[in-house]
Amino acid sequence: KSFYDCELTFLTKQEILLAHKRFTELVAKEDRNDPSPRVPMSKILTLPELKSNPFRKRICHVFSTSESKDGSLTFEDFLDLLSAFSDSATLEIKSHYAFRIFDFDDDGTLDRGDLEKLVNCLTGETDDTRLTPEEMKQLINNILEESDIDKDGTVNLSEFQHVISRSPDFVSSFKIVL
């Protein structure tokens, strides 16, 4: 099985084995005998690599393949996650998943609501670090002016990828390693 995983992900064999070890630690005892156990989102969020990430819930939702959309991950989903965030993943795959992570309402575009939620995630939870409504409006206007090429008020995937491909920091910061 890990032979296939090597072909299908950007991870090396050691990384896949380490991921398997960390994943099985999270699996509940009663699910241990399940051939493809599913770990609920609350347990995934206890991983130290994700604990401090402001987008942790979105990451779980994007990579989850559960029908109930509860953000739970199987091991395959977990590998998908690590592969997209690995060092050797391509820019296309990273930007694709970044777009889906930032799309809070899952409608395929980043509209004002998504961008507002994004800014609030980035500025932290406490009140004294949040931006005032005027600053928020100004910021989102600036962003849309820069990235929205077809001026429809939203940023779609190709516009997002165009912006991201010019950025020198994206690939190196969009990384999670176990």
Binding site: F102, L122, L131, L139, D169, S172, S173
Partner: protein, 775 residues
């Protein structure tokens, strides 16, 4: 989707070819039940496959009925490249029509036409090969597709099955064995490559340490350690070259210690030659060993291997520089490729929004810092955007900036003069004999240089507060000034060294004269015989020595590097560790909060450390020709630095408040490294080309210039025509046009790159205006 259509296409192709394949096997086409039933089975399987795939693609319309000859016609046309849903429908139609209207198949003319097509034509073979190649490419690129794992697995299995099935079919006919063998070797090679990649990533040293630092401090601090590791790799290669090709042959095959005057400690120094203080200073036994230039003999070939020592010494010196250039430029090119467009300021806000979070951060404290810095940066940019036109009191700002630059220039001039003064003083001390002076006088030069390197940057920091620049620009000015400081210091040091070299060369004349006098005094009393009788045994330690400026230069560099390293480590221990201990333990009994106010824990100074690393490497490059031990010393130093600094960072430092980006600086540091490489090889090249080597030490003693060894090798070791070719090639009439052609090529490439950039901007503008106008 396209992959579904591809499946249908290839399935269809496979269908026809499998039929033809099965036909080819049976030479005499049996118009019997067996063939038809086999074909029917295959068609059923393919039909099910095709239907399932089309079912996955929900937009596929229902299949309508069509005649089978349509399909036959399309096959004849050979139009396999159509990837439309129609072809998929046709496939299904044909298969369904096949199974339903079987009786029609039995008509003779159809069978005949089928026979014609069943022979595996070259065209169909090519097309099948293409299909297989496409499938292979799909398998190779599968990891880059943003699909969930289950879909990827299904696609992988199907593609692999297809490839395996039809690769066998492809191999029929002539060349089948070769093809199968090729396929097997390909598979083994891919597996080997994968295993090798896995092994290589496992071999990278310190990976876990750096990952830990990344999660605590973010990518900018980690970038320093990654840079350190890269330097360590490069120095290992340099060490391998100097150690393996210079030091080891001399140690194994050269004449041993004590056999020649140049290889022995002189009688006058033998008393203190083993003292630790002398050895630490690289005098005594350390000086007269393979570590320095002076030990090497100018014998043309040594040992039973006839190893050409002087040639090897020269070529290793040139080779280390060439290798360093190659590696630095290659890394720069790779970084430039990865960074893409370079500094585009048209997406400031979007980048801040989408790329500012560092996903490697795993520590809540760092995360909080990062949140705060992101918020500040948002607020700053909003304010900046609003106030970009407002510029109050521009004259005062300008005056202050000019004043600041003037102060900085004064600092630089002052430090340059100080170093020059100190080096001249040390020469004076050396002339009067070092024993009369204490430790400070002996190490004055090195200590002054290290102290200047420590305190001047702080001074520049204070001065730059006058200038009121944006923090990013202020950092660039700071880095530029520290660079100028280090460079100035280094070059002043070299100029002072040149004075010493000239002094030593004048001394040579005197010593030569003294030696003839001394030799005459030896024979004083024996019969004056002009033939070869010099059998008076003289202990090599007693022979008067010529001065050896090369060893002196090597020693100076080694001492400089050792003292620099010591200063760095001691500042680390005192500035970081003791400070952290003080803040931690005295916080309980102090008036104000030590952790938040002054002095608090220190932050890791990325740029300062990187600059220090780059300048140390510059000194290595400068001195490596005269002291082959320098790369070895550097490897040791980097190894210790890695562990010490990793420990210090995790133990005593706190994450930075302003979390700076690492990547933009990457190529900046590489560019600085390239400049330093160029500037540090210049003095070495100058000394090699213009100063005659000492007559009494080193592998080039007795020659007029060091590079004469090349000429000598060409004359003696290579056949005659080689020497002629070389002399033609080095003819100025050939070299000048070559240089001209290179300059023209550079100019041409530069102008094409400019036109590409302009075309790029043009297209971008067009795209934007097009989109705004609306489709």
């Amino acid at each position: 989707g396209p992959e579904v259509d591809m499946h249908c296409n290839t399935a269809r192709r496979g269908n026809s070819n499998s039929r033809s394949g099965s036909k080819v096997k049976e030479e005499k086409p049996k118009k019997g039940q067996a063939r038809r039933s086999k074909a029917k089975e295959k068609k059923k399987v393919l039909r099910e496959q095709c239907e399932e795939e089309c079912r996955q693609d929900e937009e596929a319309p229902k299949c309508s009925k069509n005649h089978r000859n349509e399909k036959a016609k399309t096959e004849e046309r050979g139009d396999f490249k159509r990837k439309t849903k129609d072809s998929c429908d046709e496939e299904r139609n044909h298969i369904s029509s096949d199974s339903s209207s079987e009786s029609e198949e039995l008509s003779a003319d159809e069978e005949e036409s089928q026979e014609e097509k069943d022979v595996l034509t070259q065209e169909e073979l090519e097309k099948l090969k293409e299909a297989v190649e496409e499938k292979k490419k799909l398998i190779a690129n599968l990891r880059g597709k943003p699909w969930p794992m289950s879909k990827k697995l299904v696609t992988l299995r199907e593609s692999q099955e297809f490839v395996e099935k039809y690769e066998g079919a492809l191999g029929k006919g002539k060349g089948r064995k070769l093809y199968a063998y090729k396929v097997m070797m390909m598979k083994k090679w891919m597996k080997f490559q994968r295993d090798f990649e896995n092994f290589r990533t496992a071999c990278i040293p310190w990976e876990m340490k750096i990952k830990e630092i990344e999660s605590h401090f973010g990518s900018s601090v980690a970038s320093y350690f990654i840079f350190l590791r890269w330097m360590y790799g490069m120095n290992m290669i340099l060490f391998g070259l100097t150690f393996g090709l210079v030091m080891v042959p001399e140690a194994l095959m050269g004449r041993p210690y004590g056999s020649m005057p140049r290889k022995t400690v002189p009688r006058s120094e033998q008393a203190g030659a083993m003292d630790f203080a002398v050895l630490w200073d690289f005098g005594g036994y350390a000086q007269y060993s393979v570590l320095f230039y002076g030990y090497y003999n100018n014998q043309r070939a040594i040992g039973w291997l006839k190893f050409r020592m002087p040639l090897s010494y020269f070529l290793v010196g040139v080779g280390t520089v060439a290798y360093s250039y190659m590696v630095v430029i290659r890394t720069m090119a790779r970084n430039a490729n990865r960074d893409g467009g370079g500094d585009d300021t048209s997406f400031n806000f979007s980048w801040k929004m989408f790329t500012s979070w560092d996903y490697l951060i795993g520590n809540p404290e760092t995360a909080d810092n990062k949140f705060a810095s992101i918020t500040t940066s948002f607020k700053e940019s909003i304010v900046e955007e609003q106030e970009s036109h407002k510029d109050e009191n521009i004259h005062l700002t300008r005056f202050l900036r000019v004043l600041a630059n003037f102060l900085v220039l004064c600092c630089l001039a002052g430090s340059g003069y100080l170093i020059y003064f100190v080096v001249r003083r040390s020469q004076k001390f050396a002339l009067e004999g070092l024993e009369n002076y204490g430790w400070w006088e002996r190490n004055e030069v090195n200590m002054v240089m290290s102290l200047l390197g420590m305190f001047c940057p702080m001074l520049f920091d204070v001065i730059s507060s006058l200038e009121n620049y944006h923090p990013r620009i202020a950092l660039q000015w700071q880095l530029g000034r520290i660079f100028a400081l280090f460079l100035g210091n280094l070059y002043t040091f070299i100029i002072a060294l040149m004075d010493e070299i000239n002094l030593k060369r004048r001394e040579e004349e005197v010593v030569k004269y003294n030696m003839t006098v001394w030799q005459a005094s030896l024979y004083n009393g024996t019969v004056d015989d002009n033939s070869t009788t010099s059998t008076i045994p003289v202990d090599p330690a007693d022979v008067p020595r010529g001065p050896c400026w090369e060893t002196m230069v090597g020693q100076e560099f080694v001492r400089l590097i050792v003292s620099d390293t010591m200063t760095t480590y001691i500042t680390l221990l005192i500035g970081d560790f003791l400070r952290a201990v003080f803040v931690r333990f005295f916080n309980y009994c102090w008036c104000w909060d030590l952790e938040y106010g002054f002095p608090s824990y220190s932050e890791f100074d990325v740029s300062g450390n990187v600059l220090g690393l780059i300048f140390n490497q510059g000194m290595i490059w400068m001195g490596a020709f005269y002291a082959p031990c320098l790369p070895a010393l550097n490897v040791l130093r980097l190894h210790v630095s890695m562990y010490l600094q990793c420990w210090a960072v995790m133990c005593c430092n706190v994450p930075q408040e302003r979390v700076f980006k690492a990547s933009g600086s990457n190529n900046f540091y590489m560019a600085m490294l390239l400049v330093i490489l160029f500037l540090s090889t210049l003095p070495a090249i100058y000394t090699i080309v213009s100063i005659p080597p000492s007559f009494d030490c080193g592998p080039f003693s007795g020659k007029k210039r060091m590079y004469d060894v090349i000429q000598e090798t060409l004359e003696n070791d290579f056949p005659l025509w080689f020497g002629k070719v070389f002399s033609y090639a080095s003819n100025p009439g050939l070299v000048l046009p070559f240089i001209l052609v290179m300059i023209l090529a550079i100019y041409y490439l530069q102008s094409t790159s400019k036109t590409y950039k302009a075309a790029n901007m043009d297209l971008k503008k067009k795209l934007q205006t097009r989109q705004v106008q609306g489709w």
